[in-house]
Amino acid sequence: MASKGLDQGALLLKKQLADLQRSSVDGFSAGLVDDNNLFVWEVLIVGPPDTLYEGGFFKAHLNFPKEFPLKPPKMKFISNIWHPNVYADGEVCISILHEPGEDKFGYEKASERWSPVHTVESVVLSVISMLSDPNPESAANIVAAKEVRDSPAEFKRHVRKCVRQSQDNL
């Protein structure tokens, strides 16, 4: 059984780290930023094939709250990345990283929100699918969202620039 308090999140993250080290998952690699801190992870995401991000290697950090898995981690790209659902500072904005509304007690759109069964793997896989399938309707980067709709060529130019940068920084 899970131990109480702060330990539960750490135990769970330790387990997930061991799982990922034992059998790697296609499309990304993951590890700790500092071996002594289970709550901060670094992932390297391979730009999904057949997308504008193909060929890129994007670094991101996952910051887990002490309340994990009751509360979701925050994910922030360290590499420059141009995407409608990523803020200027790199923070990823996807619905599964949002807590169910406290005041609504979880009924509305709970299916799209954080659940404690999500793992590092499921979060990163969601982000990879976000790269393949941007959602300009809920934009964190409004300029990028507009480009997706109105000027795809411009969007492509911005994304490819990030891809080249990510290759140079490897």
Partner: protein, 169 residues
């Protein structure tokens, strides 16, 4: 540069609309206090939220609970998907209406935040629960558990006991 990136929550649908006063309308009396209408609304909500939390806690306690007895699991080890730890014989578990079950210390804190099953996201149905008179005697609780158990048929892995709700969580 910062202002062109708005939070994805700040869509028009999510932006709270403010009530504007029409011509000749008087502002509500609470304008006389130091509290703005927005603050008043917040206070009201938080009282309501407290009440709902109290109701929620009672509902959680009314959900069927039991102990993991590992019956029929010789060939299949089961783990609690919240803590990713295998169930051990005798551990207290909570069974949701969808029949997914978890360690009580793992699921109860989540249910206080969100009343959905973490695995299948089915709402933990309050309509069903309000039909249970959980202030009533335990016989009624046991009836509800019996129904749940029958629906599991021979894949039954659970040995429910009504007194488990007295365990700490």
């Amino acid at each position: 540069m910062g202002d062109i990136f708005s939070c994805c929550y700040a869509t028009p649908e999510n932006t709270p609309t403010r009530q504007l006063l029409g011509p000749g309308e008087q502002p509500p009396p609470y304008h006389d206090t130091f509290l703005t209408p927005a603050m008043m609304r917040h206070l009201t909500l938080s009282e309501e939220a407290q009440l709902r939390l109290a109701q929620r806690l009672a509902l959680i306690q009314a959900l069927p609970a039991g102990v993991y007895d590992g019956a029929n699991t010789d060939y299949k080890r089961m783990e609690c998907v919240i803590c990713m730890t295998e169930f051990i014989l005798g551990e207290p578990i909570r069974i949701l209406p969808c029949m997914h079950f978890y360690h009580i210390p793992c699921i109860d804190p989540w249910l206080r935040r969100s009343f959905v099953c973490p695995s299948c996201l089915a709402p933990v149905d309050t309509a069903l629960l309000s039909a249970i008179s959980f202030q009533d005697n335990q016989v009624e609780d046991r009836n509800v558990e019996d129904i749940s158990i029958h629906s599991r048929n021979d894949s039954l892995l659970l040995n429910t006991t009504p007194e488990v709700s007295a365990l700490p969580f």
